[in-house]
Symmetry: C2
Subunit: 215 residues, 2 copies
C-alpha cells in the first residue's frame, strides 16, 4: 500500500460528526445493490431508491431489504405503502438513468409521485399491485412475507417473496443465471455514487482439491 | 427492448429445478457487496466469501449480513465462530484476487484454514479477535450486536458494530466517504461472477425543486 493507512477504532468513529460518519459507514459494504422500489396506495404511487437488497433464499425465492425508520424522508412512504398493500416492485436501472434514480431520494411530499417528479413512466402488470418502472431492464415483483422493526436501531427488515420477474430473455444464461452486464445494471456506492461494471470474471463451482476453472 | 421478454410468475419459479432457480434468484439483487469474512475459534481460522452485506445504520455504525443455515457447506464454520467469539472481519478484494476469493466457497473441513488453502495471508491487528486478509484494500472489524435465525427459512441475520477500519488514507474523500474505485474493490453477481466497476457518476444530495447537480 503506497498511501498512508487510515486507521479508525470505535472511539474515533463515535467522535465524528453524524454526516461524516454516515458517508463513511455507508461506503463500507462496498458496491451495493441499487434498485428503485415502486409502491402504490390510495391513488398515490411512490418510487424510492434503496441500496440494501439482499438474497435470503431461493426456495421459496426471497429477497430482503432494509428501510430506515421514520426520519421525515421519502422512504417512509415506501414503508407505509408496503405495510398497507404487502406488495412492491424492484426495478434495476442503467447508469444513464442514475440522475433520475438519485433524484427519487429527495424528500417529496406524500401526494407527489416520484415517477412523474423524476421522469419515470409507471408500468402496471397483471398480478402485481404496485407499479414497475417502464424503462427498467430488470423488474421484480415482491409480496411481503415477513416484517420486523429491528430492536437494535428501529430500522425495518422487509422480506418479500418473488412473485414476478421481467427482463430481456437473452440476458439469461444456459444455467438459469442472469448476465447483469447484458442488462446494463448500475450499482451504488456510498450515498451518492453510481457505477456500471467493466471487466468481469466468472468461475465454476469451487471444490476442495480441484483446481478452480475460470469460464 | 430488442430481445424477447422473459416473463416468470410465482408458479413458473416454483416449477424450476432447485439449482436453476438458485442461480436465477441469486442474480436478482443485481451487483452485490462481496466481502471475505474472517473468523477464528479454538486455534482454527476461517475465511468465507459472503455477498449479503448491507448497511443498517451509522450511529452506531452497524452492518448486517445473512448466513445460510447449516447446509454442510463451509459457511456454517463462519456462523459457529461468530456465535462463539462475537467477532469477525470483513475484507474487500480486488478482481485479481477473485479466483482465490471464490475458492473459499469450497466445502473445506473445519480444521482447514481457507487462508492457507486459498493463498491468503492472515493479518492480526490489536483490538480485533479475528484475522484480517493481509492484502485486502478494505478491512473492517465487527463485533456481534444482534443475531437471529429468521423464521421464514432459518437463515441467520447477524448484525455487527464496526469496531475498526483500515484502508488507504487517500481513498477517503473530503466529505468522509470512501472512493471505492481507488480501493479497486470488486463486486459479486449471482453465485459465480466478479466485476470491477468502470464508468461512474456522482451526485449532490437530492432536493425537491432544485435541479440535481452532478459532481
Amino acid at each position: 500500500m503506497n498511501s498512508p493507512l487510515l486507521q479508525l477504532n470505535a472511539e474515533a468513529l463515535s467522535e465524528m460528526s453524524n454526516s461524516w460518519r454516515a458517508r463513511l459507514i455507508n461506503s463500507l459494504p462496498g458496491y451495493k445493490s441499487g434498485m428503485l422500489v415502486g409502491t402504490y396506495e390510495s391513488g398515490s404511487a411512490n418510487l424510492a431508491i434503496i441500496s440494501s437488497h439482499f438474497h435470503l433464499g431461493s426456495n421459496p425465492a426471497l429477497l430482503g431489504m432494509i428501510l430506515r425508520p421514520d426520519t421525515g424522508k421519502g422512504e417512509r412512504h415506501t414503508l407505509h405503502n408496503v405495510l398497507k398493500t404487502e406488495c412492491w416492485t424492484l426495478n434495476g436501472f442503467r447508469l444513464d438513468s442514475a440522475a433520475q434514480a438519485h433524484q427519487t431520494s429527495a424528500p417529496y411530499a406524500k401526494n407527489v409521485s416520484e415517477f412523474s417528479a423524476c421522469g419515470f413512466d409507471a408500468e402496471w402488470r397483471i398480478g402485481t399491485d404496485a407499479p414497475y418502472v417502464k424503462s427498467s431492464p430488470l423488474q421484480v415483483g415482491c409480496r411481503l412475507r415477513e416484517h420486523q422493526a429491528l430492536n437494535i436501531n428501529g430500522t425495518h427488515l422487509l422480506i418479500g417473496e418473488v412473485t414476478a420477474l421481467y427482463c430481456a430473455a437473452d440476458a439469461q444464461r444456459d444455467d438459469g443465471s442472469l448476465d447483469l452486464a447484458k442488462l446494463d445494471l448500475a450499482t451504488v456506492s456510498g450515498l451518492d455514487t453510481y457505477s456500471e461494471p467493466g471487466k468481469s470474471r466468472r468461475f465454476d463451482l469451487a471444490r476442495v482439491d480441484t483446481p478452480l476453472r475460470e469460464q
